[in-house]
């Protein structure tokens, strides 16, 4: 089942913060976050595993609430390089043969 991302699009000025949400109707084992810049392939950002941990990567961090089956991606003090489309991908169970199911994406535009 495809996770639901919100918002669909967001426009920021450089230095502003943003939150992107990813919700699933199924119990989740992991949530993956990817960023795709225009015309390029998606690039892996981080993975959140069952356990409600929060992870960080420079000024981008994420949380995972397994009880609510939700994950949020936090972009702090946004930079122009953060522009792109952010996808979450979800896995219901642990295992190598499960297919990652991606949301429809959130387009983030950071303006000077």
């Amino acid at each position: 089942q495809q996770p639901v991302q919100s918002p669909q699009a967001v426009i920021l000025r450089e230095g502003e913060d943003a939150v992107i949400n990813c919700s699933s109707s199924k119990a989740l084992y992991s949530v993956h976050w990817y960023r795709q810049k225009h015309g390029e392939a998606p690039v892996f950002l981080m993975i959140l595993l069952k356990g409600g941990e929060q992870k960080g990567h420079d000024k981008i961090s994420a949380s995972f609430n397994e009880k609510k089956q939700q994950s949020s991606l936090y972009l702090t003090a946004s930079q122009l390089s953060y522009s792109g489309t952010y996808f979450c991908g979800t896995l219901p169970t642990q295992g190598g043969s499960e297919k990652l199911v991606f949301g429809k994406g959130t387009k983030l535009t950071v303006n000077p």
Binding site: E40, F44, L91, K99, K104
Partner: protein
């Protein structure tokens, strides 16, 4: 380190012509392999995935097919392209027994005219 190669980068084909896109992975063994399609401004649609040589699972009925003749080679094919086959095709790999982090190739932009 692992790398994934995908070619060609761009392709313009007439309707009804055949298609062959190739993807190879280096630096790992027994990977899971995936083909995705992305229409302009849209999300990632999983087309095929493979957990081993000759093992292909199809996600969407269409005029495309996939083959995995070698452990680290994944091929996407069509006998006759349709206009609706236009899009950005992405190959990806992940470790077989793991948490399924997927790493994408650079993609092939296909225009069917």
């Amino acid at each position: 380190s692992q790398t994934i190669h995908q070619w060609p980068a761009t392709l313009v084909q007439p309707v009804g012509s055949p298609l062959s896109l190739e993807c190879t992975v280096e630096g790992t063994s027994n990977p899971n392999l995936y083909w995705y399609r992305q229409a302009a401004g849209r999300g990632l649609q999983l087309l095929f995935y493979s957990v081993g040589i000759g093992q292909i699972s199809s996600e969407v009925p269409q005029n495309l097919s996939a083959s995995r003749p070698q452990d680290r080679q994944f091929i996407l094919s069509s006998k006759k392209l349709l206009l609706s086959d236009s899009g950005f095709y992405l190959c990806a790999w992940s470790v077989r027994a793991g948490i399924n982090i997927q790493y994408f190739g650079a993609g092939t932009r296909l225009s069917v005219l």
